[in-house]
């Protein structure tokens, strides 16, 4: 058995020179310091993405993307297909945990200032993937064509309409018409299973190649220490085994959540029914939703909603471009301002999410 594996390895090695890859892997080190734990969340996010791809493909075997059949097909998956309820629940839970772990990964990178030169491109591809993760969540939410999804999409696309100049045409494009209809469902289905995965995969490849090429980012204070003082751990196998162990733990958490709190289906969307009381977006949109609710109808000459959308848009742009305007970290100096901004963002998101959740 062992001999056969060795033969297979040699067969491939003589053609694609695996030896170089092994050498590269064995030279890769992960810095060890008090905040090393945050290095794991990129891998955890990747794991959730893989689960989404696998369960998403499985769901595609039975899902029907039309307003007449979508709800019924999910009902069929949940009640008739063996383990259908489990696969759908895992997809729904993993989506939520994916976004949570992406949040953690992104903020830890932000606080470590790991986006600083030379890792600007890694950060920018990462932020785009974060936006895509939210878009995945938003588009996937409509696919069961139930009451909650229908109204969430109405509200969400309506907010897009508040963007100055391009808002209205963009809303029309997203909805595939004036209203949320079967045309919207077809579009969102296309976005969710074809367009977004394509773009995401490309960004992910760039992101991961850069991480391999440049190695793990070291904390700022490592700069002044001698090479002998820096504690490190080999990526292979030490870090990778820890990574895999964590994936296993995460998978168990996911399984427990999916089994004990399976995804619900609710009522089928009906354009003639009223929005149910207590309707809310998913938790990761809640802080923005709640902010828009708090804004007055008019602030000076501008509509409250427009102002909110503009502010969030501006914040998103600044967030994306932080490696460009944070000159201090790029020079290797400490930048307290970044910490304050980060803490403000985290507190803002947490507090408004809680308020939104309590004020339901």
């Amino acid at each position: 058995m062992k001999n056969k594996f060795k033969k297979l390895y040699e067969w491939i090695d003589s053609r694609v020179q695996l030896e170089d890859l092994v050498k590269f892997m064995s030279k890769k080190y992960v810095p060890v310091h008090s905040r090393s734990i945050w290095y794991y969340f990129g891998g955890v996010s990747l794991f959730f993405f893989i689960i989404q791809v696998v369960t998403g493909i499985l769901l595609l075997f039975y899902y029907k993307g039309s307003s007449d059949l979508a709800y019924e097909s999910i009902h069929f998956i949940m009640s008739k297909v063996q383990f259908g309820w489990l696969i759908r629940s895992i997809h729904a839970w993993s989506a939520n945990l994916f976004i949570l772990s992406v949040f953690i990964h992104m903020f830890s990178v932000f606080f470590e200032k790991s986006y600083r030169k030379p890792r600007e491109i890694t950060w920018i591809t990462g932020v785009f993937m974060f936006f895509l993760a939210l878009a995945f969540g938003f588009s996937g939410y409509l696919l069961p064509w139930n009451e909650l999804a229908y109204f969430a999409t109405k509200v969400g696309t309506d907010i897009v309409g508040a963007v100055p100049f391009i808002g209205e045409p963009l809303k029309y494009f997203l909805r595939g018409g004036d209203d949320v209809t079967g045309a919207t469902l077809s579009r969102f289905f296309g976005f969710h299973v074809a367009l977004f995965p394509g773009i995401f995969t490309f960004l992910l490849i760039v992101h991961l190649l850069l991480v391999q090429r440049q190695g793990m980012s070291e904390p700022l204070e490592f700069k002044d220490s001698e090479k002998e003082e820096k504690k490190t751990m080999p990526f292979f196998p030490n870090f990778m085994l820890r990574d895999l162990l964590l994936w296993l733990v995460v998978l168990n958490i996911l399984a427990i959540l999916a089994v004990f709190f399976p995804a619900e289906l609710g009522l089928k969307a009906n354009p003639l029914s009223s929005a149910p009381a207590g309707i809310q977006p998913e938790w990761y949109f809640l802080f923005m939703f709640q902010t828009l609710k708090f804004l007055p109808a008019h602030v000076f000459f501008i509509e409250g909603e427009q102002l909110g959308v503009l502010l969030f848009g501006l914040a998103g742009l600044l967030w994306l471009l932080v490696p460009v305007w944070d000159r201090k970290s790029a020079r290797g100096q400490k930048n307290r301002l970044i910490n304050y901004i980060g803490i403000f963002c985290v507190l803002f998101i947490i507090i408004l999410t809680i308020i939104g959740w309590v004020l339901k």
């Binding site: 499985l58 075997f61 297909v81 063996q82 383990f83 259908g84 696969i87 296993l248």
Partner: protein, 152 residues
């Protein structure tokens, strides 16, 4: 000397035990992951209503030489009104590779376009690749209604 040797053996035993434990655990893990996925892919059985007869329509709507394909449960059945005014009903699924056959009025045969299989009007495979005759259905006319049913 003996002691170290037995120590080595014990270590080897422990290593072997851990190896089995780990690989067994991994195999079990793989099994409980793959089993739900395979079960999920297995399409659930849809309960089919057993159809024994179908009302096709008025007998007078079909003229001699006409044919049409109707749904009999989930399967297509071809009905032909022959020149002697009698009706014939046969399974429309070619016994070769599942294509749906058609009636060729001019040649008075049932023909499958996929691989040029030919049947006579009793459903007997007369030329081409079909291995078996077409299944026969019985046709009765009740108060001008054309009724096709499975032959007993």
């Amino acid at each position: 000397m003996d002691k170290t040797e037995s120590n080595m053996a014990e270590k080897k035993n422990r290593r072997g035990f851990l190896k089995y434990l780990l690989s067994g655990g991994l195999a079990g893990f793989a099994a409980i992951t793959i089993y739900p996925i395979l079960s999920f892919l297995n399409p659930p059985k849809q309960t089919e209503v057993e159809v024994t007869s179908v009302v096709v329509g008025k007998a007078d709507d079909m003229k001699p030489g006409d044919s049409k394909i109707i749904r009999f449960g989930n399967k297509p059945v071809i009905i032909i009104r022959m020149d002697d005014n009698n009706f014939r009903a046969l399974s429309a699924t070619c016994t070769h590779l599942d294509c749906t056959v058609q009636y060729k009025k001019d040649e008075k045969i049932i023909w499958c376009a996929c691989h040029n299989g030919k049947y006579d009007l009793f459903g007997r495979n007369v030329s081409g690749p079909p291995p078996r005759p077409l299944e026969q259905y019985s046709v009765v006319i009740k108060k001008d209604d054309l009724i096709v049913s499975k032959e007993a």
